[in-house]
Symmetry: C2
Subunit: 243 residues, 2 copies
């Protein structure tokens, strides 16, 4: 079972104040890059794996999706998502992605933002998603980039010339990583980028796109702190299609 | 035009003493991983882009390839490849991968080992290869991994706990990298892994496999120095197929 850090009160309090939780999708600098990966949403049946407060679910319906199933491990997130969501085209359910069951041939798009790196058995999850998609269905998801996650102590350091540098070690040693982020010992799973892509291919997906998120110059001009994202990728964005 | 460092006498002298040049394919620790990506070679027409001394060309013919065209920018490499190669199923030619022209619909397999990171215009090269392959033809190649190449000063450092660590910076800043390796200022081109994969997809390839080379336990037992390859990947191995 995946760790449910989101219902930890300290974590939830901090997490809820992130710009992307206060302002929604447009508060995430990678959102324009995600949009470029999305298929036309009109008439689609969508499942959102790790739906949080429901920002994407509401976006999908506003852009013509026929229905959205939003799944999240956090009771607090689901409760707020339900409270924030009008209408009847979105259903929210509590679900653990490590135990997920989905109906077969049901969805046109499986979407997930920054949730899969909490999943222990990625191959099982990908096979479950593949079965739940109709032929030609899309999978679009973001994860923390393994360059960002691999090291035993992942944080900025200075190289011998004082340049901002990100440390990489243990890259080939996949498995648990624990970091402190709003709470002690948040549990994530490091997988090589090759493992992530080969798992998709083995499950029957064709890779359509890999993006290693880097901010655009106009984003850096508005938020200068984003410039450090040019040094190392924090996120990978992946679009695949059921063959 | 690509830099031809290989005909620099100092470089050539050092390079020729690498285990993989003295012992051939089995002198390269990644060779078993490359073999796992290769299609059955029997009856195939092969082009080897950056063939060096012709080790792979001879291997391909020994394993049933119908013909091999070996291409390299280095006159010294091609001269020795010709001298070392019996028979008439292998032809060697001098070629600059940045200016490459190939006949259309000619080859079943395009192979390249550690050459494409010297190429400035990767998109042009990939399009040229795609046109030269028959439908269903394979492209198998290795490159220096962008994690290995990105930083301004790429070499082992110690993190705050003394752990062996590889520095990453400038990852999103693609383009020239100069390093000293048997000669001063060897010119390579850094591209993000996403750029490499998306260039293949845009040219009409389907990605079949990405490997970020890590040695097997028995390789580390025999050559303990290889253990450091678990910290960060030095090479990416890629198998793609003409759609």
């Amino acid at each position: 079972m995946a760790q449910n850090i989101y219902d930890n009160p300290d974590f939830f309090a901090g997490y809820s104040q992130l710009p992307r939780q206060v302002h929604g999708l447009s508060g995430a600098p990678e959102w324009p890059a995600i949009q470029a990966l999305l298929p036309d949403l009109r008439g689609r049946r969508v499942v959102d794996l790790g739906c949080g407060f429901g920002w994407f679910a509401r976006y999908a319906v506003e852009h013509g999706a026929e229905s959205v199933l939003g799944l999240d491990i956090s009771e607090k997130m689901i409760a707020r998502a339900r409270a924030d969501t009008p209408g009847d085209r979105i259903a929210y359910e509590i679900a653990d992605l490590d135990q997920l069951e989905l109906p077969a041939d049901r969805f046109d798009l499986a979407y997930s933002a920054l949730a899969f790196h909490y999943v222990s058995d990625f191959a099982r999850l990908v096979q479950t998603i593949h079965r739940s998609l109709r032929p030609g269905g899309h999978l679009v998801f973001t994860i923390e980039h393994p360059i960002f996650m691999a090291a035993a102590h992942p944080h900025w350091i200075a190289d011998e010339n004082g340049s901002k540098t990100w440390p990489v070690n243990n890259y080939a040693r996949e498995g648990e990583r624990r970091t402190d982020w709003f709470a002690k010992g948040v549990l994530k799973y490091h997988r090589r980028l090759s493992t992530t892509l080969n798992t998709l291919i083995d499950a029957g997906f064709a890779l359509n796109r890999l993006e290693e998120f880097a901010p655009m110059p106009e984003q850096i001009a508005t938020f200068p702190v984003l410039e450090e994202e040019l040094e190392r990728p924090m996120m990978a964005l992946i679009a695949a299609e059921r063959r």
